[in-house]
Symmetry: C2
Subunit: 334 residues, 2 copies
Amino acid sequence: MRTTRAARSQDDLNGNLPGPVAGIDIGGTKIATLIVDAAGAVLGRATHASSVGDQGGAVASIAACLDEALGGAALRRSDLKAVGVGVPGRVDPKRGHVTLAVNLGWHDFALRDGLEAMLGLPVVIENDVRAAAVGLYDRHVVDGQPSDLAYLAVGTGIAAGVVLDGKLHRGARGLAGEIGHAIVELGGPRCQCGQQGCLEAFASGPSIARRANAPTAKEVYQAAAAGDTAAIELTDDVGRRLAWAIHTLVMTYDVQRVVVGGGVSHAGSPFEAPLRRELERLRDASDLAGELLPADIVDVLPPEAEAGAWGAVAVARTAGLAPGARGSEVVSHA
Amino acid sequence: MRTTRAARSQDDLNGNLPGPVAGIDIGGTKIATLIVDAAGAVLGRATHASSVGDQGGAVASIAACLDEALGGAALRRSDLKAVGVGVPGRVDPKRGHVTLAVNLGWHDFALRDGLEAMLGLPVVIENDVRAAAVGLYDRHVVDGQPSDLAYLAVGTGIAAGVVLDGKLHRGARGLAGEIGHAIVELGGPRCQCGQQGCLEAFASGPSIARRANAPTAKEVYQAAAAGDTAAIELTDDVGRRLAWAIHTLVMTYDVQRVVVGGGVSHAGSPFEAPLRRELERLRDASDLAGELLPADIVDVLPPEAEAGAWGAVAVARTAGLAPGARGSEVVSHA
């Protein structure tokens, strides 16, 4: 069944926001804001290269970054129709709470209400990876405008945001897409989560660094690019495991595209080449894989794609929808 | 977002069928028909323990089984509102074609049109595993009436049918739920499909028999029940791999329940105990698994559940919907 287009027309009638909105992407060590008009043009942007802070100071830090972006665009807060916020953690979009964001030290934090009180604007919050998936779908930045896509974020952790038939798939408990804790090797090394053999224990940034006894994954990829044999072996293994993740996402969800982003993915060819080689090997092995993993199954985002901030913009546009649909429906911009 | 109930009320208005319908489950070596009234009561049933035959004779074989069930219920074909058919193969529900059913030798077979012409009734066809998933959801046979569930069929092949937020998830190319060809062991043994390390290469009926040098999986489970050490080791390994599949389905889809059925699952305790032991081990390993794999995550269907025929009944009830929604929407019976 394909009701996407009809459903989106309905959404456009009910929920689309004609004016500018702000999307704010909260990372572990920075805040990025994008102000975008109804046609999708960027009016302003700002990046604060500092932590958003603890729950007591976070609302003020976020507002400061937003105000800087507004200043650059010669706009006031009241010119905005809504604000979307992507948070690296578990989010309850209905209540507007950040349930748990380990890297930020947040726990059951009523971020939406705090921001709405501070800004006097409608605010929608969403998990950053899910928001990015919605943004990628909304902006049609992938060829062929697939109605079903996954965004695989490879960074400090690994997770997927999944759009099925044009709608964000959250799952029954809001935990869909936990591919980082799917098991790539039964009985494999212990993951931080407690399980054995999780994908994240092999292929997240910190795991790559730990496996190579290097300070960061970036150094490992630089060593691989310089021809270091051990680094090449390791980055080949990471590519093989991430290809497994893409294969698993496709075999379960039957998505048409898997878009790969996140800090680790910015390492260029030493990241991308082993991944593509393994996908090619899988594709050639069977008719089923050949059909489900065509050559264009994967897009690796360029570092400048700002997937997180654009995702927050897409999430902001859902502020006009009924409370239950905010953050989850996809409202196309004009 | 939970729009299930509202969506189903709408469906009830548009699509529910007040009269009796027939569900026909086509297996590799039998045909089973169930005739059910609008309240869900069984009016008649019939089972033909013979192959449905090639494309030339299949429509007549199916009609003969249906007529026998009608005779037992003292009904005529014209008393039925619709007929649903579950087929072990790839189905294009919109065109009503069986694209490929390897075990039946069918290829691009216009089964719906053939049956409609023969019976003079609306017919909806669907893949058997997906139909069973819809049937399990529709009949609320699982505790707690989950809106998100997977049906994991373990038999000659392994596949999952997935209901998300009360609707069948087909995937972009109609191939969602191919968990049998997800890779449980990178570089593992070659699967019939050509890939290496597929779940099916370890845990389907024929694979279990092959691994034990036994005629069938049933004999392997009987040997395990009788205390044979090698058989116990093998069936423990199968349980571990199937628990991996359940874990993977839950980590990706975040379904609330995984219902296990299919011929291999009828082996009783030697099938179920190792599976539950491994799930318990996974559950205890991490907070995330603890939340996603609660003790009631799995139901193993009893052999008499007739999941396939009830699935075909659920599919029949969608005949009143718009063509694009047939087979995919779930229409609750009264």
